[in-house]
């Protein structure tokens, strides 16, 4: 087991190098000169001298490789440079915004798990009945609607019509509900489908038939089916966490949620290169880390999986 984990960890290193390189060249897709942008966001008129001085300050006069190496080495130490907009260290900005996004993602995750599991069980019990179809139809619609439309409709209905929840911001525990639900809706359908189909399939497996023949209670059989189906779903759910964190951009902007999704949009509109770079890079690292964790956990649960790699 130890060997597997070490091997898996080592395999991540070349991946991280590739990721950092890609995140770095992404910024060069823009035609704007970072030095000019850095001046302009501070309302400094970009005269030729000022631009030249800023280029030197930002190290833009060095070669591409040199710049990349500098960026990577300082990134490892957690130094992503300073934001052009407020001149604060980028890492501080991200660390400050991250908890809000994590909370939102977590709440969303819980909503996804609770709804997918209960909906799937109901669907399995009433397979092909109108209840099954209604539930599947509903989650299907949730998945096919543009996120901001759902968000605004939910806000309008629950906070204005019913006056139950605050419209936006992060003021009380209740404010996380609407953004959490909005974010979750886009994903629930996938999991309901996955879990339900798995359970329906398991219903006709031998162990179920055997249990039925033995006259076991329906509830216990269902429990067994559920347990059996859950294993495959766990991996998928595990990978949904980084997806949720990356998917908060729209939701955070609608619900005035002070997380990294908003930070990144503001950075993109202002061409705040250090922030964009750090955001893209960290999101990829998070993805890789979650992937790694899911792999290791799966391997621990089921030794047969260790063969891959």
């Amino acid at each position: 087991m130890k060997r597997y984990i070490i091997k898996r960890l080592l395999s991540v290193i070349p991946l991280l190098i590739g990721i950092s390189f890609l995140a770095f060249i992404l910024i060069n897709l823009s035609e704007s000169d970072p030095a000019e942008v850095a001046l302009r966001v501070n309302e400094i008129t970009p005269t030729d001298e000022a631009v030249a001085q800023m280029r030197e300050e930002l190290g833009l006069d060095k070669s591409f490789i040199e710049r990349y190496l500098t960026w990577v080495t300082s990134s490892i130490k957690g130094d992503f440079g300073n934001s052009f907009i407020n001149n604060k260290p980028v890492i501080n900005e991200i660390v400050q915004a991250l908890p809000a996004t994590l909370l939102l993602a977590l709440v969303s995750f819980i909503i996804i798990v609770v709804i997918s599991v209960s909906a799937s069980i109901i669907c399995t019990i009433f397979e092909e009945s109108w209840i099954d179809r209604t539930i599947r139809g509903l989650v299907f619609i949730g998945e096919a609607m543009p996120g901001y439309w759902i968000g605004l409709l939910l806000m309008w209905f629950f906070s204005i019509k019913l006056n139950l929840l605050p419209t936006s911001g992060m003021t009380s525990w209740a404010s996380v509900i609407l953004p959490g639900v909005t974010l979750a809706l886009a994903y629930i359908s996938t999991y309901v489908r996955l879990l339900r189909n798995n359970m329906v399939q398991n219903k006709s497996e031998n162990f179920v038939l055997y249990a039925k023949a033995r006259g076991m209670k329906k509830r216990i059989i269902l429990k067994r089916i559920f347990k059996n189906s859950l294993q495959t779903t766990i991996t998928a759910l595990g990978m949904s966490i980084p997806k949720l964190i990356a998917g908060t951009v729209i939701v955070e902007n609608i619900f005035a949620w002070p997380g990294i999704g908003r930070l990144s949009v503001a950075a993109i509109f202002n061409y705040d290169y250090p922030v964009i770079q750090a955001y893209v890079f960290l999101m990829a690292v998070l993805f890789v880390a979650c992937n790694l964790l899911v792999d290791i956990v799966t391997a621990m649960l089921d030794p047969r999986m260790r063969k891959e790699v």
């Binding site: 823009s30 096919a144 309008w156 886009a186 951009v249 729209i250």
Partner: protein, 278 residues
């Protein structure tokens, strides 16, 4: 073909197909069907309600919403199709090479795919559009960059699955070239599975364009496009909530139809790949 029969038996999937074909045809015949020019501005009639002249009312510049909706099919659905087609072509080419040649080339291609797949597609698309600026071409390029790796990998595994089949092995031994085998034996079999993958993703492309429009990074005005129409209607949501319905429902129906069709195809082909995590 058993799979096709299965699909035909699924009545709802058939409805989806008929619906989508109708939508595409409507888009094709938009110039004959639309009552107005979709970019004709008439501010005196702006935000007008339903009338015989404007069956769905007008938008903030007094343009006919029905006409924009019909012409919008061309933009929205076309972008989605082009994106998927281009992604599939690139995926098939690179995935095909990796799957057929294996060895070093395969290894390198797969590592590059790993790198690209480490970036969540939303983040990738947002960053690329953010850097290159909004517009149809950039949206397509960004989506291709964000998606190609996943398709390459899937297509590679499909190719490998078929290469291992007995009759292909036999063909190889008989001295047919790799290219010949790929074209004559693997491709016809793989096409179906690839189509499933693509269908599943078209809906997500349409939703992505609408999300970009919300951020002001969608297609350029005044091109009629559903995501943009929805986003424009959103600006007056408080006073004219009904304006969000035509583009919103259009997106909802088309995306739902594509998703449902994708799911049904998946069942019909019994494809084991899990649906892509959006």
């Amino acid at each position: 073909m058993g799979t096709l029969n299965k699909l035909i038996q699924n009545r709802f999937a058939m409805i989806c197909i008929i619906f989508l074909v109708t939508v595409v045809l409507t888009g094709f015949f938009a110039p004959w069907l639309a009552p107005h020019n979709p970019v004709d501005v008439n501010v005196k009639e702006k935000l007008a309600g339903i009338s015989t002249t404007y069956p769905m009312g007008t938008d903030q510049l007094g343009r006919c919403i029905l006409s924009r909706l019909l012409y919008g099919i061309r933009t929205t659905v076309l972008i989605a199709f082009i994106t998927m087609a281009a992604t599939i072509i690139i995926g098939t080419l690179i995935g095909g090479i990796a799957g057929l040649f294996r060895g070093k080339i395969d290894e390198i291609i797969m590592r590059i795919c790993d790198i690209f797949m480490s970036f969540p597609s939303e983040v990738m698309i947002l960053a690329i559009i953010g850097m290159m600026g909004p517009g149809i071409t950039n949206i397509i390029i960004a989506s291709i960059i964000a998606k190609w790796a996943w398709y390459t990998r899937m297509i590679r595994s499909i190719v490998i699955k078929y290469t291992d089949k007995n009759y292909i092995q036999f063909a190889r031994v008989s001295g047919f070239s790799r290219w010949h085998i790929f074209r004559k034996h693997i491709m016809p079999n793989a096409t179906g599975e690839i189509a499933v993958l693509a269908t599943l993703d078209i809906g997500s492309v349409i939703l992505m364009i609408s999300a970009l429009s919300f951020l002001g990074l969608g297609v350029q005005a005044p091109t009629p496009e559903w995501g943009m129409m929805l986003s424009e209607a959103k600006n007056v949501m408080i006073i004219h909530p009904g304006l969000m319905l035509p583009p919103g429902i259009a997106i909802l129906f088309v995306v739902a139809a594509f998703n449902f069709l994708g799911d049904s195809l998946q069942d019909a082909y019994n494809v084991k790949h899990r649906k892509r995590w959006r």
